[in-house]
């Protein structure tokens, strides 16, 4: 049995992602699986949808599946999973939130202050490290700092953004800087780069923070070889058409941004990106938001998915998920799950509100909209055909009644789900919480340095009928939203998920436990403590013929700051500003 598995494993590594044989064998090993799941498991995996030995981009591949063909660790062997090695990047301010990458048996990852490490994937031995010299005075003045959510690989280099507005290329073998380009005046605008860049053809693309900061949230295309900036796309009012959607010249301080990595559709040469919310977060317009409040109009291109020509940075098409977003429900989540189904080329994108948008990849026209959360009242619904927000709540200054659902932390958060293409199952976290809200009129502060523009007082409250907020991991059809199974959690898991051809779903939870479930049934098969809450990435790779699972743990993200008040222990005593990368393998 082990021999067979090793062969399948080697084949998967060699071929990248040819899974049919592995899936059939796994199905044969697990007679308890539902017949429907077993049949579906025999479907071939698209060759570019799953990772093999390497995991070279944020979601593994451009299809954003967070799914691996590796199956050495599977439902039968996971009981033997144990820690292979750990690594602490140090200076773990605001925890550890990045997604590790792996190529050729080497693991690359970043920690706070954009520290980058290359580690031997089998042993954890440090190959090289790089600590950029940052503007520490600036970082002390920044609110959402100094965490870093990942690096990009390509052209023999490792690329990382910094909080002081730079994009840096490192030699992949040595860690020596190749180029270092200042892209944004963070000293004045406060925003920098916390999200991972991506490599598209001969370009590195990275989006700036934004949202509640009164600027215009740029996304940059940079020559991967020279570091020369090739284009800038302002997510707030880059053209006359969009400028007209911001009354009172509010586009000058509109927010926006693209603080998580997008993805690339090679078939149409299209760069997909999600944009952040407008500023101030909460508006006092009342129902007539087209004429009243801080930023009258639809506020293009905030809270939108945008499709850019990666060669020029020009907008090809877009869909604004929430016109005039007055709830801080970004579209910035960088998860664009590419599915080919029924002759259609689709993209599934989660909005922070908890609504899931399904688009045609050719033009971002809507195919469906469905909701993953139970508790939601910022709108009554979203029309699945037109995208119209039905029964939207646009507030005036003062207390909001009833409390707003979901809370500012989102119906879904920025970390990723995982998609198993064999069974057409998307695994995704849903958060159930609301918040008591009072909208307060504010004015953007630009001098001497831009400041947050929130526009509200608030605190999180449980959803109706519950004594505490809670969360769940769902297994669903990503296009229809039909649920297959659900696991409930006392607290919303705040980390990414990982699915594998070993029929496993890995869920790093908020308390610090890493769980492995049978991805077909939701049955828990294994768990292990990583010592502190998870708020970042998880992935799998192979080195020297062995499969490894790498997960970051470290508590301190903005959405997690309220956990001690909401849930008490273990969060009351959980240290912030710590972090560790833990890598597992079989005994």
């Amino acid at each position: 049995m082990h021999h067979t598995r090793a062969m399948a494993f080697a084949a998967a590594m060699a071929a990248g992602a040819l899974l049919t044989g592995c899936a059939q064998q796994e199905t044969a090993m697990a007679p308890a699986a539902a017949p429907q799941a077993a049949a579906a498991a025999m479907m071939p995996v698209p060759p570019d949808g799953a990772t093999g030995a390497d995991w070279t981009s944020y979601h593994g591949t451009w299809r954003d599946y967070d799914f691996s063909s590796l199956d050495q660790i599977n439902t039968g062997t996971v009981k033997n999973l144990q820690v292979a090695w750990t690594h602490d990047p140090g200076r773990d301010t605001r925890g550890l939130q990045s997604m590790p990458l792996a190529e050729g048996g080497v693991l690359y990852y970043s920690g706070s202050y954009s520290r980058v490490y290359a580690l031997d994937g089998a042993t954890g031995k440090v190959i090289w490290s790089y600590f950029p010299k940052l503007d520490e005075g600036l970082i002390k003045r920044q609110t959402h700092s100094p965490y870093n959510r990942g690096v990009a690989l390509g052209h023999g280099r490792v690329y990382v953004g910094t909080m002081d507005g730079r994009l840096i290329a490192l030699d992949q073998k040595t860690g020596k800087p190749v180029w270092d380009t200042k892209l944004i005046n963070s000293q004045k605008l406060t925003v920098g780069f916390t999200g991972a860049p991506i490599v598209v053809k001969d370009m590195v693309v990275i989006g700036a923070q934004g949202g509640e900061w009164p600027y215009r949230g740029p996304i940059f295309g940079v020559d991967a070889n020279t570091g020369k900036k090739k284009w800038t796309f302002l997510t707030v009012a880059p053209d006359a058409k969009s400028q007209a959607t911001w009354g009172h010249n509010s586009w000058r301080t509109g927010g926006g941004g693209g603080w998580m990595p997008g993805t690339y559709d090679a078939a149409t040469n299209t760069l997909w990106w999600g944009t952040a919310n407008p500023a101030p977060l909460y508006d006092w317009s009342g129902a007539d938001f087209m004429h009243n409040g801080a930023r009258p109009g639809n506020n293009l291109y905030t809270t939108s998915v945008i499709a850019l020509d990666p060669d020029t940075g020009k907008l090809k098409f877009y869909h604004q998920e929430l016109p005039h977003d007055g709830w801080d429900f970004d579209s910035a989540i960088g998860e664009f799950v590419m599915i080919d189904q029924g002759g259609k080329s689709l993209i599934v994108h989660p909005n922070k509100s908890g609504y899931i948008f399904v688009y045609n990849r050719g033009d971002a026209s809507l195919v469906n909209v469905w909701r993953i959360t139970e508790n939601s009242n910022f709108v009554q619904s979203i029309d699945p055909k037109t995208g119209e927000l039905i029964g939207r709540r646009d507030f005036t200054a003062g207390h909001v009644d009833p409390p707003l659902c979901p809370a500012i932390d989102g119906g879904v958060s920025w970390n990723s789900g995982a998609y198993d293409p064999r069974t057409n199952t998307w695994y995704k976290v849903g958060n159930e919480w609301c918040m008591d809200l009072k909208v307060v009129k504010t004015r953007p502060i630009l001098e001497p340095q831009a400041q947050l523009d929130i526009g509200a007082d608030f605190h999180e409250v449980p959803p109706p009928g519950a004594d505490k907020p809670w969360g769940h991991v769902d297994a669903r059809d990503p296009v229809t939203g039909q649920i297959k199974w659900q696991v409930k959690f006392k607290e919303p898991p705040m980390a990414s998920l990982l699915a594998t051809a070993g029929n496993l779903l890995f869920v790093p939870d908020a308390e610090g436990m890493l769980h492995a479930y049978d991805s077909r049934t939701g049955k828990e098969l294994w768990s292990h403590s990583d010592g502190v809450g998870h708020d970042g990435g998880i992935m799998t790779y192979a080195a020297n013929g062995k499969q490894y699972v790498a997960v970051v743990a470290g508590w301190g993200g903005m959405a997690t700051d309220g956990f001690p008040k909401m849930f008490g222990e273990p969060f009351t005593s959980m240290p912030r500003n710590t972090g560790v990368l833990t890598v597992y393998t079989l005994k």
Partner: protein, 106 residues
């Protein structure tokens, strides 16, 4: 509600010591100004306008001295709170301290 309470507090102080209030009240910032400043810059962490513990600690009823609060606003605390010493004027910081001292339950 909070604005009203702040207003009542301010009126009460005005009745007894109007000249002192004018000097002490955040260098002359109005209640609306300082409430807006707090909601813009501080309210993300100090929730309910500083009335409850949430992402940041509760400020209403704090036993910390004015000097401590001013120092914390100016210099922050790594990993917890940004430094606002270069972003906010002394007048604004004084206004925030005044706001914190007069916080009442909403």
């Amino acid at each position: 509600m909070s604005k009203s309470l702040l207003g009542i507090a301010a009126v009460a102080l005005c009745l007894t010591a109007a000249p002192v209030l004018a000097a002490d009240k955040g260098g002359g910032m109005s209640d609306d100004e300082v409430e807006g400043l707090f909601a813009s810059t501080c309210g993300f962490c100090h929730q309910d306008g500083g009335r409850v513990a949430g992402k940041g600690p509760q400020l209403m009823g704090t036993k910390r001295s004015d000097a401590f609060i001013v120092n914390r606003i100016k210099h922050g605390k790594e990993g917890y709170m940004p430094a606002f010493g270069q972003a906010l004027t002394d007048r604004e910081i004084k206004g925030i301290v005044h706001y914190i001292r007069h916080l009442k339950p909403d």
